[in-house]
Amino acid sequence: MFGSKKLTFQVKDPMLVMCRIAGTGDRTRELSALVDFNSTHCLMFANDAVFLGYSDVANRAREWREVFPQKAPYLMSFRGVERGIMVRLKRVSIGPLAVEDVTAVSLEMEPSLLLPYDMVLGRSFLDKFKLTYDGKSKTLSLS
């Protein structure tokens, strides 16, 4: 539903969408993203973050945390407690829905490349919307 503030789309299993990330300068990437409202932040690979101009993620999270503890948070996932480096993405958008200044974390132990997505869209993006998921028709609505 382009042109309105509501977007409804068919999702696969798991819930994958294409999103556009704008970084510093004019750098932009289009990535396949897993919609996961249980992740407190968006998660992304370090090489994508570096391409978008966030070179901080090239640091070691353990050492970066000693200098900037607020920029290297601990997160909880089904893998246990994890650590990463946090950046603020200039703009994240899915179709007409866009959010500016979104926090994203590049994990110290990156997700397996076997997983079918490039990043995770977490609550730092999703909590700006009302989300409806219909499991029968496999549709996700953001408004």
Binding site: P14, L34, N38
Partner: protein, 136 residues
Amino acid sequence: MTEFELGRFPSLFVRVKGSNSRIREYRALVDPAYEYCIVPKGDAYVFGHPEVAFQHETVGPPNARTLMTAGGFSKTVVFEVEAVEIGGLSFEKVEFAAIDLPQEVGFEAVIGQSLLKHAVINLDWKKRLLGLTKAS
């Protein structure tokens, strides 16, 4: 429609009735990224599935499955429970997987796709409400 307060993580109070009529209650995380609902292995045993103890053998039980999770490949046993009650809603014949989640996660059980495919969930972070409706 059943509504719950949306806390830090979307979670629901659920009552699971096994095929042997044993009942367990959980505060369960809602996660459509999981193919199956999840309970701990010990509770799968209580629900009448002792094969959870043999799932890692070379020739596992017929209901053993290999799942792809955030932590990599995971071998588990899948079984059906009689019913899952959430508030005033009841879902019958729901498939569960027996997985012990890390203790620091804070949840023992997960409500995944095997139940959510029969439901509609609404998450409103502004009002801090989690709504669940049975799909028509």
